[in-house]
């Protein structure tokens, strides 16, 4: 199949389980927004089956190794797994070094595991702009579990909560005095905590700190979750009730030796069943699709603004702001008025 294969051929191929078609479709989605629209349109009806799992956490916590071990445990149950490993794009060169595969070599030769490395390009929040689309393609490609691993730059990567059904926050002892997830603002989005490298000194302390945090700050954390979400739209109202009743587990894992990974998989399966049974799944899906809609609308509006507005208006307004002749709010209002009028 040549790189220039027609879009429909890629769509048909990936729906039939052709892995090269899937791989090339993901590249198209990354490279070209118009193609992304065509491809997602072609596969969307076949999505919504996979359990979408987000894995995030600070650098040095061993996320990739844990994802690899988790995939192995899923394979033991004959579930197929698609993995999307996101690494940062260099702001200087626009290039990227994608090294997560180094830690995932155990799956080679297994057609039931598909690993794709992805650079953030211009994406934010530890994900690429195309991450959500690529997850849809993996879902449509027939994978039972789709795991996305964020950059893990130590910053708030809460956008993962807008693309996944279940969020695993990975923590490790010995990365500093405080629990990294708190520092990174990840506490509020976790459905499951995995304290990886649990054979190291200080693991017990990390687990205890997290458990205490969950006990004392549970309600507060939930509240922050919902206000922290940028996407609330209509789904948000009913969601608070539905989210109750999931006690967030804190698990110990040793990814390199596979220790505790069965328990992590079981917790994920339990969460998946709980989402289904409690109605939280549809709430989350609503939130997720709502987020996607909003993102696309924003992008489209911005693009249309760039296209349709007088080219000079933006710079005129900026100049006016610099001279303090107009304030930022009024300038924005003026631009939006031009757009809708």
């Amino acid at each position: 199949m040549p790189k220039s294969a027609p879009t429909q051929q890629l769509i048909d191929g990936l729906l039939e389980g052709d892995r090269l078609a899937l791989a090339r479709a993901i590249s198209r989605v990354e490279d070209d927004a118009a193609e992304a629209a065509r491809i997602v349109r072609g596969v969307f009806a076949q999505t919504g089956r996979a359990h979408l799992i987000g894995v995030t956490g600070s650098p040095g916590t061993g996320k990739s190794t844990l994802v690899s071990a988790l995939a192995e445990r899923y394979r033991a149950q004959e579930l197929t797994v698609g993995v999307l490993a996101v690494d940062p794009t260099s702001p200087f060169s626009g290039g990227a070094l994608l090294g997560d595969r180094v830690r995932m070599t155990g799956h080679s030769g297994d057609a039931g595991v598909f690993i794709r490395s992805m650079a953030t390009r211009r994406g934010t929040g530890g994900l690429a702009r195309a991450s959500a689309d690529a997850m849809l393609l993996l879902d449509a490609g027939g994978f039972d579990r789709v795991i996305v691993e964020t950059v893990g730059a130590g910053q708030a990567e809460i956008e993962i909560a807008s693309v996944a059904d279940t969020v695993v926050v990975v923590e490790a002892p010995g990365l500093g005095d405080e629990v990294q997830a708190i520092k990174a603002g990840l506490l509020e989005i976790a459905d499951i905590f995995a304290v990886n490298k649990a054979d190291r000194k200080g693991a017990g302390r990390t687990v205890a700190a997290l458990e205490m945090m969950l006990e004392t700050g549970g309600a507060a954390a939930q509240a922050v979750l919902h206000h922290g979400q940028r996407m609330e739209m209509e789904a948000a109202a009913s969601e608070t009730d539905a989210e109750e009743g999931w006690p967030i587990p804190v698990l110990e894992t040793v990814a390199v030796s596979g220790g505790g990974v069965d328990q992590l998989r079981d917790a994920l399966e339990r969460h998946w069943a709980w989402l289904e049974g409690s109605g939280a799944r549809s709430a989350r899906e609503g939130r997720r699709l709502g987020h996607m809609l909003q993102t696309l609308v924003q992008a489209e509006v911005l693009a249309r603004m760039e296209r349709t507005l007088l080219p000079g208006l933006r710079s005129d307004l900026v100049e006016g702001m610099m001279r303090r002749q107009i304030d930022p709010y009024s300038a924005a209002a003026e631009m939006v008025k031009k757009l809708s009028g």
């Binding site: 199949m1 040549p2 790189k3 892995r19 090269l20 791989a23 090339r24 993901i26 590249s27 990354e30 490279d31 070209d32 927004a33 118009a34 794009t89 260099s90 200087f92 060169s93 626009g94 290039g95 990227a96 070094l97 994608l98 090294g99 595969r101 180094v102 070599t105 080679s108 030769g109 598909f114 690993i115 794709r116 490395s117 650079a119 390009r121 211009r122 693009a303």
Partner: protein
């Protein structure tokens, strides 16, 4: 909106663990604006082909210092072609005698770079090949 990026897989086939060259080239390609997927050492041709497929790369760069190139490289090319990736550029770096280089080119390796090749030469080769293809 288009956002095309050249994607390169850098792999070390065989048992050789000397990965200094592979790693500095990976960095140089990153700094030239490419997206570089690094597989690590001890890769079989099957592992490399599977990674090339899943990552949908434009270029596969192999680094071999152990003398096993005549066994491993043709196998990688053969697998890439068999899975429909005839259009992937295959490059080889390492200690490769001239007569072997000629034979490997006949087997589908697009270029062979010996010790002392500058990264800019490799980058220029990839750019030219991508623009031409």
């Amino acid at each position: 909106m288009r956002d095309d990026q050249i994607r390169v897989l850098i792999a070390k086939p065989g048992l050789d663990g000397h990965d200094r060259g592979a790693k500095v080239i990976a960095r140089a390609l990153r700094d030239a604006g490419f997206e570089v997927i690094y597989t690590g050492i001890r890769q079989t041709p099957q592992m490399i082909a599977a990674a090339a497929l899943q990552e949908d790369v434009d270029v596969v760069g192999l680094s071999i210092l152990s003398g096993a190139h005549m066994t491993l490289c043709p196998k990688v090319v053969e697998l890439l072609h068999a899975q429909g990736q005839e259009d992937v550029l295959v490059l080889l770096g390492g200690i490769i005698p001239d007569e072997d280089a000629a034979e490997l080119k006949a087997a589908g390796v697009h270029a062979v770079f010996g010790p002392g090749t500058s990264s800019s030469e490799i980058i220029a080769f990839i750019r030219a090949a991508m623009a031409g293809g």
